[in-house]
């Protein structure tokens, strides 16, 4: 690409970003409500129909996870990280059963978060606060992953002008975050939904064009597979199919990710802002088709082996830049500008949605519980400030922790959020578990999950940074995702403790719901 082309790319990128900012601020007027009310600011007044709630939940499908993290690891490790495809296929089936029920429970009792239900159901404010904090903490690495993705795009773009783009990239990131914080503050979830529509439109265009053009330019997948080197991390054998040693790792990753998605506060927030259960079902049912683009993007991790100039760029800027490097190398600059902006706001918008849901939890399920006299106006105002705070905590996160692979951040978030499954999913259906069982099960799941992650990275191996979330058994399982092991321990303890309390007869029965 010529020097002029680089300026063209940046010009398109900046123009579209200006439009994006305009939309973000304008959206506070969309289906106007009283934005000083928390339900209005955080749930857009529960007025979203099939398409908007589809965009909002779909916003979750095309994030830095899809554009950056998954292709990065397919490029580095091959077929096993294609697990994201069965994950999106399965998670929406689970959501079709669980989420309409949660919506009904929430509507009937005027809950705004899943933690409202947990607090009420188990009749324990402490358990509610624990689950709220778990949700807040689990979102942080997920937001940090979004920032990594944005950084990857900026690195490829600015790397054409500066020999060492690190500092200028960081400055650009901070500026983007200040702008984001400003319009999330004024527009709330409305800002996120409207900008999610723009984001998905750009991304749709990008995915379709790139999927058709790039394989043709490269000369097909056969050539790409032939270019896969034989190294310790990846070889044609682990790129073409899944080696049998990794089958359990693949299944445990996809199944646990599928269970985890709808435990995240931001996903539940998206569901609760729908206007009816019927709309939730229809929009959820359509999402696996949307996931086909995700499958294609994952394949970029393979395709790049057929594109020498993109491969050279990844060698320079790191594997996190697989998708932006391929786009830069294979498409005209003006189109790369559109695609880069799509990927960039593909990190920004989800980061905003996630921070809103964290703020929501902190205000409603922690502060409000401690200070019950909080009036609704103060509640909404606090949430707005918290959402700004969380964005900058996540930003600080990436300046402090640098994992070897960005995806591992999200997988650690998964291990954490899965520990809320007994409280939220089982709590929605059954009154059998009591608060002690759920609480102690949670504690065991958290401790073992964190410890196994530490052990796998720094005891069994001596990785320089976070590099894996698999636990390796010599026999008979091979590799298993730590989230699965920790969740199983959590469930067993929850059942055993509840059983003991019932035998002794001192367990506080949980409320019927």
């Amino acid at each position: 690409m010529s020097g002029v082309g680089n300026y063209e790319l940046v010009a398109v990128f900046i123009s579209l970003f200006v439009i994006f900012i305009g939309l973000g601020f304008w959206s506070s007027r969309f289906r106007k409500g009283d934005l000083s009310d928390l339900g209005e600011w955080a749930l857009a007044g529960r007025k979203l129909g099939v398409y908007l709630s589809w965009f909002l939940v779909g916003a979750d499908l095309y994030t830095a996870y899809t554009f950056i993290a998954i292709p990065e690891l397919v490029y580095e490790r091959g077929a096993i990280f294609y697990y994201a495809v069965p994950y999106v296929g399965m998670t929406f089936g689970i959501a079709m059963i669980t989420m309409p029920r949660l919506w009904k429970i929430a509507k009937g009792k005027n809950y705004v978060t899943a933690v409202d239900m947990v607090t009420d159901k188990f009749n324990s404010k402490t358990l509610g606060m624990i689950i709220a904090f778990t949700g807040i903490v689990a979102e942080l690495p997920y937001i940090a992953l979004q920032i990594y993705g944005m950084q990857a795009v900026l690195t490829v773009m600015l790397g054409q002008f500066y020999a060492n783009p690190a500092t200028i990239t960081e400055v650009a990131l901070v500026i983007a975050f200040i702008i984001l914080a400003a319009f999330t503050f004024t527009s709330g979830l409305r800002g996120a939904v409207i900008t999610a529509v723009m984001k998905d439109a750009l991304i749709f265009l990008t995915v379709i064009v790139v999927i058709i053009v790039v394989p043709l330019e490269i000369g097909g997948f056969g050539k790409a597979f032939a270019g896969v080197p034989t190294t310790k991390a990846i070889s044609p054998a682990s790129a073409e199919i899944l080696p049998s040693l990794l089958v359990n790792g693949f299944i445990s990753l996809s199944l646990m990710s599928a269970l985890a998605l709808y435990l995240y506060p931001h996903a539940i927030n998206g569901i609760l802002s729908s206007s009816s259960t019927k709309k939730i079902r229809l929009s959820t049912a359509l999402l696996p088709i949307y996931g086909v683009g995700l499958a294609m993007l994952a394949l970029f991790g393979i395709l790049i082996y057929g594109a020498p100039s993109a491969l050279a760029m990844v060698g320079k800027f790191g594997p996190v830049t697989v998708v932006p490097a391929l786009i830069y190398a294979e498409l005209p600059p003006w189109f790369a500008g559109i695609a880069f902006l799509g990927i960039f706001i593909g990190g920004l918008v989800p980061a905003s949605i996630m921070a809103i849901s964290q703020a929501n939890l902190l205000t409603r399920n922690v502060v409000k519980v401690a200070v019950p006299s909080l009036d609704p106006k103060t509640e909404a105002r606090l949430s707005k400030y918290f959402s700004v705070m969380f964005k900058f905590i996540a930003l600080a996160f990436i300046f402090v922790i640098s994992p070897t692979y960005s995806l591992e951040l999200q997988l650690v978030g998964g291990i954490i959020i899965l520990q809320t499954l007994p409280a939220i999913f089982i709590g929605m259906y059954s009154n059998w578990l009591n608060k002690w069982g759920v609480g102690i099960g949670w504690l065991v799941g958290m401790i073992t999950g964190v410890y196994m992650t530490y052990y796998a990275n720094f005891v069994a191996n001596s990785f320089p940074s976070l590099e894996t979330t698999f636990f390796k058994f010599s026999t008979p399982f091979g590799f298993l995702y730590i989230g699965l092991i920790a969740l199983l321990l959590n469930l067993v303890i929850a059942v055993v403790i509840t059983f003991i309390f019932r035998m002794v007869g001192t367990g506080t029965p949980s409320k019927s719901a």
């Binding site: 077929a79 294609y82 495809v85 069965p86 999106v88 296929g89 399965m90 929406f92 089936g93 689970i94 079709m96 059963i97 309409p100 029920r101 009904k104 429970i105 509507k107 009937g108 009792k109 394989p215 097909g220 997948f221 056969g222 050539k223 790409a224 597979f225 073409e240 199919i241 899944l242 049998s244 089958v247 693949f250 299944i251 996809s254 199944l255 259960t277 019927k278 079902r281 229809l282 959820t284 049912a285 359509l286 999402l287 696996p288 088709i289 996931g291 086909v292 499958a295 294609m296 394949l299 393979i302 019927s512 719901a513």
Partner: protein, 83 residues
Amino acid sequence: MTKDSNVNDLSLETKGTTIEKVIVAILLLVPIAVFSATPLYDSKGPELFGLTFFYWFQAAWLVVTSVFYLMAAMLLNRMEGGN
């Protein structure tokens, strides 16, 4: 939800006949079962545009999955009744 709830139209009881419930369960479980049966599709051939079966089968199965889910959604929505 407790019986004293005054929002009657938000009953959590699943309406519909047993047959309808079984059909919904099948429509939701088949896609998930197939995705979970990884060894079934973990093979090189038949290839499509140079892509091994492992990759293109799962991508194609996403489309089939949506069709199954959509049928389940329509059935569930009918079972729920109302508007």
